[in-house]
């Protein structure tokens, strides 16, 4: 009787856990910066849906909220709400350096019309909203996208 109960519990927990594992995958974002010769860049990574509507943020490189208004695409979408980036904020990225971010993302983000945007800003230099915009697709994994100002190239792999 006891073994039967244990088996039932095991079956239920397995049933609940396996779909979660199957619907998520580890995704790595690699961003290489150009040697633009300025201070460290603030970078906002966020996702929009097929209609261009903001869905959520994935990472914020740069910790001071007062500079976020210079990441104008992200700022317009979120109103500068720092709650959007709680737990996903890191340091700004210096000229010529690279940032590698590893995230466990829902598989539903891929091949469903979602786009990843990167806004960038550097002190005393021009802001660069939508520095990188790439569709999130399985085929796009490992393909480098070129940035328009401060980002040399960006790649995601899953």
């Amino acid at each position: 009787m006891r073994i039967k109960s244990l088996l039932a519990v095991l079956a239920i927990t397995t049933t609940l856990t396996v779909p979660g594992l199957a619907l998520a995958s580890e995704v790595t974002f690699t961003t290489n910066m150009r040697s633009y010769g300025g201070d460290g860049a603030y970078l906002a990574y966020y996702v929009t849906d097929a209609q261009g509507k903001y869905v959520g943020s994935l990472w914020m490189a740069g910790g001071k909220a007062r500079y976020y208004e210079h990441l104008s695409g992200w700022y317009r979408a979120t109103g500068g709400d720092t709650g959007e980036i709680n737990g996903i904020t890191g340091a700004s990225v210096g000229s010529g350096r690279s940032l590698k971010i590893t995230l466990d993302l829902a598989d539903t983000l891929f091949d469903a019309g979602y786009e990843l945007h990167i806004d960038s800003a550097v002190e005393d230099m021009r802001d660069s909203p939508n520095e990188v915009v790439v569709p999130l697709t399985s085929a796009g994994s490992g393909q480098a996208a070129t940035g328009s100002r401060y980002v040399a190239d960006f790649t995601y792999t899953r």
Binding site: D39, R66, A91, V93, R97, L99, K100, A106, E123
Partner: protein, 117 residues
């Protein structure tokens, strides 16, 4: 019967410890005013000097920390770094954050990691 006594003893002990713990104060708070005024913490002076420096650049004009332009706060106590270094390239080797926001993009319970090279 013994189990009940043991349980009661454990509950009483925990209650006493919790009561003491709730009274815990930082050592600074226990010092009297006279003593506290005599002590100037090293990091306080350091903060002052950094605060002076961060508003000027080589030309003497205000930099990005100018409140008028950027609307920032004067108090950097809760910030990760100072002055121009906010935009600077002080990348930590590995940053592990806590829990990401529940925006439906992340796997619940996952921990994002970032590395700057």
């Amino acid at each position: 019967m013994i189990d009940r006594r043991l349980l009661l003893a454990a509950v009483a002990g925990t209650a006493i410890l919790a009561a003491f713990a709730s009274q815990a104060l930082p050592l600074d708070a226990l010092r009297c005013n006279g003593t506290r005024n005599d002590i100037v913490k090293a990091d306080y002076r350091e903060h002052e000097s950094k605060g002076d420096r961060r508003h000027r650049d080589e030309d003497g004009r205000y930099t990005a920390n100018d409140r008028g332009r950027y609307g920032g706060d004067d108090d950097d106590d809760d910030d990760e770094d100072e002055g121009r270094a906010a935009y600077g390239d002080r990348g930590a080797p590995v940053q592990q954050n806590t829990n990401p926001p529940g925006n439906g993009l992340f796997t619940p319970g996952s921990k994002p990691r970032a590395q700057t090279n």
